[in-house]
């Protein structure tokens, strides 16, 4: 696909890692730098998730985008950490904010949000103001509960 001079290749989910490996290792392609990975949520359209990997071939001065589409019921895809180690934190960020799981990822934890955060805020069905107030900004703070719970006391 071409749009405004950018080339996008849509890859089926099961072929993603093979395609990525080919892009990096093939002597004609040489996409050695994974510049970015991000997700777009097209809720309520299915398949709702589009993963975009921006590749750069430094020796050939070229850019390419790999795209994978995932459904809302089964948002799992192969991790690209074995191909580009730099995918590690990018995939953790997508997992954190969209709830997409990467099979084969060495350390799939939340990265920006706290571990006990509920939901995936960058999904389109997550309201912009959030579902509820942040804890410890209201009652908990005023009633002195925080002091009781705190181990510092």
């Amino acid at each position: 696909m071409e749009f405004r001079g950018e080339t996008t290749i849509v890859v089926p989910r099961n072929l993603l890692r093979a395609a990525a490996e080919r892009c990096r290792a093939d002597a004609k392609l040489q996409f050695n730098l994974l510049s970015d990975a991000t997700c777009v949520d097209r809720y309520p359209v299915e398949p709702r998730f589009e993963l975009n990997y921006q590749l750069v071939a430094i020796p050939r001065r070229d850019r390419l985008r790999l795209q994978v589409r995932l459904t809302g019921q089964d948002p799992v895809v192969d991790s690209l950490v074995p191909v580009w180690p730099g995918a590690n934190w990018l995939e953790r960020e997508i997992f954190d904010l969209f709830g997409i799981r990467f099979s084969g990822h060495p350390d799939l934890r939340r990265i920006l949000l706290p571990e006990d955060w509920e939901g995936y805020p960058l999904r389109r069905d997550f309201p912009v103001p959030g579902f509820r107030d942040v804890p410890n900004s209201g009652d908990v703070f005023n009633s002195g509960d925080l002091f009781k719970k705190s181990s510092l006391r």
Binding site: N32, S35, D36, T38, V40, R42, Q54, I58, P114, V128
Partner: protein, 398 residues
């Protein structure tokens, strides 16, 4: 706590919590360090203390409103953030920016690069114990901020670069102000070099510290001065020129040592290159000419036209209430920020608000390599390594 083989035989290591409130983490970054004596065995960065959900907030803003949010991401490079976001939206719209506006953009972004490198140099030197450099760097940065204030009315959160051009015509007397800065700056850069380049303490603290091989650096997606210090000449301004950078003559400094000292030399050399670009841009900016593209319905109309033409008034009202709707599609644009490749991905679904705005922030991705740089080094070198990656936590967490 784990057991590792130490010099004195198997012994227990200590886990030390560095940050989040630590002056040398340049914001709120927490690093869990596992130490064997003073040697770092393992390092685990913990982020998110400054997460403000900028990408989510963009979903609820029109395309023009989101510009002010980008300022607040990398607060040492607001103009660069404006530029990359506006270029992504312009690509989505297929909008051509007038040459004069492109040159103004280049000049402002290069001034911003110098100011960002000055803050980096000053704070990095303070981390490593050289107090006076900080004061000199901020003296010159002040001059740059005064120029920004002239152009945009704001010193830091400028929002000067807008979709389709820049916000305002350059103010009266801008040439003298920029020329004064250009005349002063080269000798000031020499001054920093006199203080640091051959300073034995500085060399001792930075030479041979935090090395990474070029293969590892590329594999970990590092960009910017950190990558160029490893010998890979990857600079978006040269490799994928944007905003008329192909018309300017400048060099991309690279080194091969890949240590903290090499990164320092690269950034100092980049300041000199930026001065060259600013000088050329100044010559190219004509006194007369448009600073915004001619695109009714996207660019707010001029004040006089609004009072005389019906269409202009309608467009003005439409732009500021509803916004404009690019055709469905996606665009990814990358520019060279002072820290590396700053990318912006914008997806449109044909409505006046973006479906998705994503920033490829160089600080976030370069920070990923920190454990690789510091494992096996001394704890004092952790500070030097964090400094030379040049992270801005506002951009790491967004």
């Amino acid at each position: 706590m784990t057991t590792v083989d130490t010099v004195t035989g198997a012994a227990k290591t200590m886990v030390l919590n560095m940050g989040p409130q630590h002056p040398s983490t340049h914001g709120v970054l927490r690093i869990l360090l596992e130490l064997d004596g003073e040697t770092v065995v393992k390092a685990v960065p913990d982020l998110g203390y400054l997460h403000t959900g900028i990408e989510k907030s963009c979903e609820d803003k029109t395309y023009s409103q989101a510009i002010t949010l980008t300022d607040r991401m990398d607060y040492l490079n607001p103009l660069g953030n404006n530029l990359v976001y506006c270029m992504a939206v312009e690509k989505l719209l297929g909008l051509e920016v007038p040459k004069r506006a492109q040159y103004i953009r280049v000049m402002m972004v290069e001034l911003q690069r110098i100011s960002s490198h000055l803050v980096w140099l000053g704070t990095h030197a303070i981390d490593l114990g050289a107090m006076s450099v900080f004061l000199y760097c901020f003296r010159e940065r002040e001059e740059i901020l005064k120029i920004f204030e002239m152009f945009a009315g704001q010193r830091m959160m400028t929002s000067y670069i807008r979709i389709g051009g820049v916000a305002l015509d350059p103010p009266a007397g801008w040439r003298q102000a920029v020329q004064k800065f250009l005349n002063m700056m080269p000798s000031r850069v020499d001054e920093y070099e006199t203080l640091l380049t051959e300073n034995p303490i500085w060399i001792g603290r930075t030479k041979g510290i935090g090395c990474i091989s070029p293969e590892d650096a590329v594999a970990l997606s590092m960009t910017g001065p950190t990558l160029r210090a490893a010998g890979v000449a990857y600079d978006n301004r040269k490799v994928f020129p944007y905003s008329s950078y192909e018309e300017f003559t400048f060099d991309v400094p690279t080194r091969t040592e890949s240590d903290c000292y090499a990164r320092y030399l690269i950034r100092v050399a980049e300041m000199r290159e930026s001065l060259k670009i600013i000088k050329q841009a100044m010559e190219r900016i004509t006194d007369e000419g448009p600073v915004k593209a001619d695109a009714p319905g996207i660019i707010p109309p001029q004040r006089e036209k609004m009072k005389t033409e019906m269409e202009a008034l309608i467009y003005h009202f439409k732009i500021f209430t509803e916004g404009f709707s690019p055709q469905p599609g996606e665009a990814f644009v990358a520019v060279e920020s002072p820290r590396g490749e700053l990318g912006c991905f914008v997806a449109s679904d044909g409505s006046p608000k973006p479906l998705r705005v994503h920033f490829r922030s160089p600080s976030f991705i370069n920070l990923q390599a920190l454990p690789k740089l510091i494992e096996g080094q001394l704890i004092a070198d952790v500070v030097a390594c964090i400094g030379t990656i040049d992270i801005v936590l506002g951009e790491v967490d967004r």
